[in-house]
């Protein structure tokens, strides 16, 4: 059992794509967690003239309101990671819970969950988010994350439903029940190892999706209003027309980081998927 898990992990690390993705993700995580603690400049206080280019005093310059861009960047990464973690935790739990009970109970419960997810799939979640967020006057990190979380579970819910159905109907579960194994035992020894990689891939995809969604929402003007995230940095840069003035230091760092986070999680998710779907 243990040795099979460790050999699987070794095989996963042999995939170059996975190793690179994980490395990028760990670097971003490290910057987001440790960065704000080391670089102790407030991201929201005006500290100097506006639009000072990157230099010795301000490593990444200042923005339209004379705030330190490096401090904004570090706190922004942290904020975006928070949004990603909260939102993906919410939508993943909803997806697993609803998908599993739909498969286990069947009948009316299944019908309701399936119709609900079908409707949610047809109405794009980004629009639902905009609709929800447009009518909320003040939007903190938590509100935006919850809005993203409760609108993006539908696709994965269907995935978990069909996985659970195929597990429930497979021979080895019947055998385990016949051999007198307890329910808890069956769940831990038979179901979790099968579903775990899928959960991991789902989490990675939802995480990157949520971070992208926050940037999109905020850029439209229905996202973050209070806390610093990568989306808010781009929003402020957009509002003050930094791009057409050639003020690159407020735009390039957050946008590259968003892309890097997306790519790293995408690489991780697809490697997990490739490794486990060919068995």
């Amino acid at each position: 059992m243990i040795s099979s898990i460790s050999s699987t992990i070794i095989r996963l690390f042999r995939i170059k794509k996975f190793a690179i993705g994980l490395l990028i993700l760990l670097v971003v995580l490290f910057i987001g967690i440790v960065g704000p603690a080391i670089y102790e400049v407030s991201p929201t206080r005006t500290i100097g003239r506006r639009y000072v280019p990157p230099g010795e005093k301000y490593p990444l310059g200042t923005d339209a309101l004379g705030r330190d861009v490096l401090a904004q960047f570090l706190h922004g990464i942290r904020g975006s990671l928070y949004v990603g973690a909260i939102a993906s935790a919410i939508s993943l739990s909803l997806a697993i819970f609803l998908g599993t009970i739909a498969a286990v109970f069947g009948g009316l419960v299944d019908k309701i969950v399936m119709t609900l997810s079908e409707i949610l799939l047809l109405i794009p979640s980004i629009l639902l988010m905009m609709l929800l967020a447009a009518y909320l006057p003040e939007r903190s990190l938590w509100i935006v994350a919850v809005v993203i979380g409760i609108t993006s579970w539908a696709g994965w819910c269907r995935g978990f439903r069909s996985r659970t159905l195929s597990i429930l109907s497979s021979e080895f579960i019947n055998l385990a029940i016949l051999s007198g194994a307890s329910r808890l035992n069956i769940i831990i020894r038979d179901i979790v190892p099968i579903i775990a990689p899928y959960v991991l891939a789902a989490f990675a995809m939802l995480f990157s999706y949520s971070i992208m969604a926050e940037v999109g929402l905020t850029l439209v003007g229905v996202g973050m209003t209070k806390d610093v995230t990568l989306g808010l940095m781009l929003y402020v840069a957009q509002i003050y027309a930094n791009i057409s003035q050639g003020i690159w230091w407020t735009i390039v760092p957050p946008s590259i980081t968003v892309t890097l986070i997306f790519l790293s999680l995408y690489m991780i998710a697809t490697s997990i998927d490739e490794l486990f779907s060919y068995r």
């Binding site: 047809l122 109405i123 794009p124 639902l128 905009m130 609709l131 909320l136 850029l219 439209v220 892309t259």
Partner: protein
């Protein structure tokens, strides 16, 4: 005696999917209706309050705005009467009057700005569909060779770069550092849209960067999905026969493979075209391109609720319709889809 009714499975499928679509549209309308009325703090009241604080100074204009907001949302009536009113207005195509662009109606505004969005999105999405898929097939033909690896890496990176971010880079590069193109807008300020050579040329100059950003950033998705479809297709017996047995030239095989694998992608194209209104919002904002996305952004910043609501309804309606058409298309092409739904008789 059981009466067996023979319905064409395609029609049965079409009807069922139509039912789902209408149900979804009703849910969406209900959400659009209920959300602004349920959220604590009453955003409408706070909008009126905000208007009294600044922006609108003359009392007559404030009165007019207040009256209009109340007329659109009818907040003094009980909820169920409000809902009936909302639906009956919608059936008559009355989406209310915009606050920001007073006295223009929401329907007129959408009719005015939608063509510009479609003019941007339809060519960009279609062209990138064609070229992305073609490159995908070529990559599949050269699987695991150098070309394939390069294409795969580039397409994967493109997938992680949303069109609006790409747009920001294009502006920085081609409009600021090398001032070849204008930084934004749809045409030079002061110019009025009309069908003259001068205007069309000026418009095209503003058009190229937003077009490129949508075109390039959607290449990746098409290319990657096409590559995996084509790889499966290549492994099939008849392709083996065509390549090894008949000995067609590389170019002919690529063309043939493209046609074989394009079917599922056509369905995808229908969905993405339906998405185009929603998908162009951010790109339009970055470029200041005068389409639906741009007025949506201005509506949100000005809390112009009638306009926000109207644009939501339009976007959701086009999306659902496009999705429905793509489902029918798919069922028409692939009989398994419709049998899976109604069951084989």
């Amino acid at each position: 005696m059981a009466v067996k009714i023979n319905i064409n499975p395609f029609i049965a499928y079409a009807l069922k999917r139509f039912g789902i679509m209408m149900l979804t549209f009703s849910v969406a309308l209900f959400l659009i209706f209920i959300l602004p009325r349920m959220i604590p703090g009453n955003p409408l009241a706070s909008t009126i309050f905000r208007l009294t604080q600044g922006g609108i100074t003359s009392p007559e204009q404030l009165k007019a705005t207040e009256r209009m907001l109340l007329e659109t949302f009818k907040l003094y009536e009980p909820l169920h009467i409000q809902f009936v009113d909302f639906i009956s207005k919608l059936i008559h195509g009355d989406l209310g009057t915009s606050i920001l662009f007073y006295p223009l109606s929401v329907a007129d505004l959408i009719a005015l700005y939608l063509p510009w969005t479609l003019l941007l999105m339809i060519p960009a999405v279609s062209l990138s569909w064609f070229i992305g898929n073609y490159i995908g097939v070529v990559a599949a033909m050269n699987r695991n060779k150098f070309v394939d690896k390069v294409v795969l890496t580039i397409f994967m990176i493109l997938q992680g770069v949303p069109p609006y971010v790409l747009g920001m880079y294009l502006i920085l590069l081609l409009a600021v550092y090398m001032p070849i193109f204008p930084t934004g807008g749809g045409w030079p300020p002061g110019m009025v849209p009309r069908l003259s050579v001068e205007f069309v040329l000026a418009y095209l100059k503003h058009y190229i960067l937003p077009f490129l950003s949508i075109f390039i950033s959607s290449l990746g998705g098409w290319g990657l999905s096409m590559r995996s479809i084509a790889v499966q297709e290549l492994a099939s017996d008849y392709m083996e026969y065509t390549i090894r047995g008949v000995g067609l030239s590389q170019k002919k095989v690529v063309n043939y493979l493209f046609k074989c694998s394009a079917l599922p992608q056509i369905v995808g194209l229908a969905i993405v075209l339906g998405w185009s209104v929603a998908g162009s919002v951010l790109t339009e904002i970055v470029f200041g391109y005068p389409g639906i996305g741009m007025i949506f952004w201005r509506a949100i910043n000005a809390q112009d609720y009638p306009l926000i609501q109207g644009i939501f309804i339009i976007i959701i309606a086009t999306l659902l319709l496009a999705n429905y058409i793509s489902e029918l298309l798919f069922a028409y092409i692939d009989p398994r889809a419709r049998y899976a739904y109604v069951g084989v008789q």
